[in-house]
Amino acid sequence: MFRDYETGPFFDEMFAAPGQPRPHYATMFQELSGMAPSQFEELRKLADFSFLLQGITFTVYSDGRGTERLFPFDLVPRIVPHAEWERIERGLGQRVRALNLFLQDVYGPQRILKDRVIPRSLVYSCRHFCRHMIGVEVPRGIYTHIAGIDLVRDSKSGEYLVLEDNVRTPSGISYVLENRQVMTRTLPRAFQLHDVLPVDHYPAELTQILRRISPRGGDRPVMVLLTPGIHNSAYFEHTFLAQQMGIELVEGRDLVVDCDIVYMKTIHGLTRVDVIYRRIDDDFLDPLAFRPDSILGIPGLMGAYRAGNVALANAVGNGVADDKAIYAYVPAFIRYYLAEEPVLSNVETYLCSNPEHLNYVLDHLSQLVVKAVGESGGYGMLIGPAASAAAIADFRERLRANPRNYIAQPVIALSRCPSHDPATGRMAGRHIDLRPYCLFDGERVVIVPGGLTRVALQPGSLVVNSSQGGGSKDTWVLRGDA
């Protein structure tokens, strides 16, 4: 399987040097090496079939009929030794706590603005800064119940860096849980030979947090997961989580607000709702408060939320904390709020709102990655070294017209992990990132060991998004270091 495998000029997760697996990958290397390409191919088909049968697909509407595709799944797991994970866990824990404190502060006393740690203008000009939230007391002071923090490993230093924070409605956890299940069925022997930390307690942990934020208290609050509906690309995840958590999956049309109380329509009349795990963006939540053309939302929901009669997870207005320009200040938040040094570093970031940075960026466009600050999912991006002259010229215009809307970062040489190349039937190095999912209950940050490893399956590609040929891998955090 590893014939002609090249590690290239990149940090390879499996190999310390060509042909020399790292200690925590030695067993897996042996398992895979002992396999014939045809054997591996059989397993791959088995895994694909399992995903198809479970309907873990997304729909592409290009032929007018809607074709269902699988998210490509690569059978070679990403393995993380325990010591490495511990450091990640510490780093993410402090980061999530700092982000939550920032949100409490920015919608409350605004000490950090008064102390000029971050410019007031930068915060107020965030597209997702939400004036409706100023002075609102959210249950237990929790804003970031669920955070998905994207990490990459820089080939230069071999260190993990934080690439971006997602504290609005991060998705992907269902793949973590499903990948694990398919993996244990497909490669049971290899799995058993490793001591892998489990991940399937995630739904229970999340349910626990939601129960605790119920404004009415009590043992059995009515909790629901609010989905935009069947056409949303993450719909599978919504149904999956609702089922795993044992809570009701609702759409906007199932809910109604009367006198600041939220109800759902059941066959026996209206039932009061206490907690909403919403997977709808702020803009669409309530047509009375936000976009009047939203048909996904519930008129009056914000009133009920502000009155403290219903809890939302995540809180409204979180977008101000994962704005890509604010991102540059998160290490400063950690120092300011926690008086700690950040465990995980940021990627070096140029804020185009700063004239000096802007000039530098304009001069080096072909070497940088430029990102729109309020976007996610790989939209509104320019990858300088791969971009055409026209695309660069286009971004130059956009940067000059609206510098606040952009940041730039050097291109990070992401680490690679051996992955199956269907063209040759053998292993090839492919770039990966990692999104762990962090749950915050107001005191503790709980992170299921691992997270979603996304892999750029196209040779040479650095883009791991599923819309651009990206796939995923199971992530194994070991109980020990080998």
Binding site: I230, H238, T239, E248, V250, V256, K265, I267, H268
Partner: protein
């Protein structure tokens, strides 16, 4: 606690599944009866098949003439026909998709695999080999669906909506089958000859009642007896009476109303219809006219469906 939208989806999921199975049964049985027949009888038989599904106009607009090929394609595969088998299966899955958190993983995987398999049949290949292979698969799929549903879903309110949907659809479909077949056969005065006999056998087989008829009556196939069996029999799982009783039972289980009361209009209509199916004799029905009776049954079924929706799915919220 059951969301109205979820009850709605369960109800319709079962209706579409039943519609797909019924259409498959009708197609399969009639096709095989047909290939043993003379060309005149051949033509005679195909039109009613489309009428049974209530899509006569759409069919005429698309094809004009009824040929075995056209009818098979239209009823099994056509995306122009909202009641084609493939469309029904697609609707089963779409309904299941919106409630997959509420149904068992086993049921979802069963529906999903039915959908993927059914939509991958190549119509041209199936037309070449005849409908049996495809129809048999659908029939099997429907049985599997109900088996898995019975064994893996809690028998709660949602399950009762599922049962009500299946029974209501089946009652209406049997009413249509008897109505259309009887009407056409009597009209063509073919009922007395051997061909007529064959066609009644086809009707019985399409509702899986042929062997039962033989045991029950020990006689030749007589249209009145066939009608009696399919309309009034208490134990035949595809008779109208059996299914209206099932609707009644499900609705009572949902509302909790007792045997001598009704909680809503849907229950009242169901009870009234069930009374008449219990106490009317087939002679009484024929005296009034079978067609008029069956037209009333179909009308009642539609009203019951509407009132179930109004009571449980789309009630107005007064804020």
């Amino acid at each position: 606690m059951m969301l109205s939208r979820i009850a709605d989806s369960l109800f319709w999921m079962a209706r579409y599944m039943e519609r797909a199975e019924d259409t498959a049964r009708i197609l399969d049985v009639n096709y095989h009866m047909m290939i043993e027949q003379s060309p005149q009888a051949y033509r005679l038989r195909w039109d009613p098949l489309v009428s049974i599904t209530g899509e006569q106009e759409r069919f005429s607009a698309q094809y004009g003439q009824a040929t075995p090929r056209n009818v098979f394609e239209f009823l099994a595969f056509s995306s122009e026909n909202p009641s084609s088998i493939v469309q029904c299966i697609t609707n089963v899955r779409e309904n299941a998709r919106t409630i997959r958190d509420r149904i068992s993983r086993e049921l979802w995987e069963d529906i999903n695999s039915l959908y993927h398999t059914a939509t991958r049949y190549n119509p041209e290949d199936e037309i070449a080999v005849g409908p049996h292979r495809f129809c048999n698969y659908i029939k099997f799929g429907s049985h599997s669906f109900h088996g898995v549903a019975d064994d893996t879903l809690p028998h709660d309110e949602g399950w009762n909506f599922l049962q009500a949907g299946r029974a209501l659809e089946r009652a209406e479909m049997t009413a249509r089958i008897v109505d259309v077949e009887y009407h056409k056969l009597v009209e063509s005065a073919a009922a007395a000859d051997a061909a007529g006999n064959h066609q009644w056998m086809a009707v019985l087989k399409s509702v899986a009642a042929y062997e039962f008829y033989r045991r029950q009556y020990h006689a030749g196939i007589e249209p009145e007896k066939v009608a009696e069996l399919l309309v009034l029999h208490a134990q035949l799982p595809r008779s109208i009476r059996f299914n209206i009783a099932a609707v009644q039972q499900s609705l009572r289980a949902i509302s909790g109303s007792g045997p001598d009361a009704y909680a809503n209009e849907a229950e009242r209509l169901t009870g009234k219809l069930h009374e008449s199916l219990m106490y009317d004799r087939i002679e009484d029905i024929f005296a009034r006219g079978l067609h008029a009776f069956l037209a009333d049954v179909q009308k009642s079924c539609r009203s019951i469906g509407e009132h179930i929706a109004r009571t449980y799915f789309y009630y107005a919220v007064v804020a």
